[in-house]
Symmetry: C2
Subunit: 310 residues, 2 copies
Amino acid sequence: MIVTVTLNAALDVTYHVPRLTAHATHRVSDVTARPGGKGLNVSRVLAALGHETVATGLAGGRTGEALREGMAAAAPGVTDALMTVRGETRRTVAVVDAASGDTTMFNEPGPLVGAEEWAAFLRRYAELLDGARAVALCGSLPPGLPVGAYAELVRAARTAGVYVLLDTSGEALRRGIAARPDAIKPNADELAQLTGLTEPLRASGEARRRGARAVVASAGPAGLLAVAEEGVWQAPVPERLEGNPTGAGDSAVAGLLSGLAEDLPWPDRLARAVALSAATVLAPAAGEFDHKAYERLLPLTEVTEGHKAA
Amino acid sequence: MIVTVTLNAALDVTYHVPRLTAHATHRVSDVTARPGGKGLNVSRVLAALGHETVATGLAGGRTGEALREGMAAAAPGVTDALMTVRGETRRTVAVVDAASGDTTMFNEPGPLVGAEEWAAFLRRYAELLDGARAVALCGSLPPGLPVGAYAELVRAARTAGVYVLLDTSGEALRRGIAARPDAIKPNADELAQLTGLTEPLRASGEARRRGARAVVASAGPAGLLAVAEEGVWQAPVPERLEGNPTGAGDSAVAGLLSGLAEDLPWPDRLARAVALSAATVLAPAAGEFDHKAYERLLPLTEVTEGHKAA
């Protein structure tokens, strides 16, 4: 069983407008809402791959209810173990401009989480670790949580002997990495921000020195670079993609963890992560993956040992 | 008792961002939500003036629940007679740009209302008219309602012998006016759009020929112009105002109807409408009015008979 943790889940709302003009009034022609949050996306992909997965984290208020209802409908294979908090789950609003196709995003900060709620979550989390093969810790922290929250979750997983992957950014990543997660999955920006280095192999090495046992760095079309104790591998995206990259990183995490759960070696995990990620870019709906594209791309994905600097 | 009707109520959400940039991602620093909808604003002001008022209209889904909860808290003197519909009440999102102070608005369309829901609302409305002194029909129509919906509500009020004021725009106003409401309260733009005329006195005359028994036209600092069977009056705003005009028109409607309910003559109703409207612009929170400013401005508001063209 694979556990995912989404501490700052969101209801992702999309507004369609004919043309976005700053400081004007817009009639929104079409409104859609779907459950968001990186850990929930990871669980959704894991369930689609046939893995048993439990999604935990925090959800509250009417938006939290809408999120959970949406999850039950959109991802029936995912076990909902979200903990209810008093604050209101956040929304993200993506305004899609029909004239240019561009998107303007507004991300609410999320619920203010109390200390006793966090303590209750830690108990819930410890129970879920019992029997888990791996856990993915995903996304930003809501207001009120200590910045070292992920470090605490990493330590608890390591104590329980559960493989732990951390996928976050900024200070939460900086603090979480020091607790020695089994893997991190930063994109190029996040890795550069963490280490101050822009060359991926050197930056990954630096991230490992700071505590990550393995680093899987994503760089768009360049695919994934894995730097682990066992070796260094690179897996470029097998073809040029046009599509929506939303959720591609979450699908990569699902690929890595599903491969781990099946005891696949690093190159196979990496190939799966790249193919799933690419199949997510190609899917018509943001954050889902195209199963046929995945099956087509998986055998085309080549993983090479070592790393050639660009 | 004064009834207000808000068929397309909204939860008005405000996002604060440091600077709005089209096609960028924004972290929203602060989120507030308050019940919106023109009829609800009218009822809130009427209740603050000590009038008995019932707010009806349509509300649905989780956003409808949040709206009603907010109403109960913010306007305890208003009787909630909103009818529950299956669709989801809309949100409006106002993005306030701290750099410029400007606001960018996104207005959702509102719930799709079914024919049987509309029929049920007409029954509820007929019950409320029994015992009402006046009714205000306010704002836009949600999707699914016939464009002649307001005409139907105007006719029912007239049949019941209840004074009916219509405050809407576009095709809903054009169709509603033909049913001969006792008054309409267009702003300069709405009046010009309705009649094709820009000179207020001539445009008001044309609106009366189309069916409105009285026209109270608002024109920002120029105040209100009333054109009725009984005469023509003009009431400019007594001083230059700096503030937020949101809700000023709704306060004017509340002023007119509270004066009517107290059997005040036209000039006194108009003075009250102008002073309330100005006190709304001066209030720190959008859509509320500053009681002290109202009491100060009321005796300063001069109403003159006749109309001088600008």
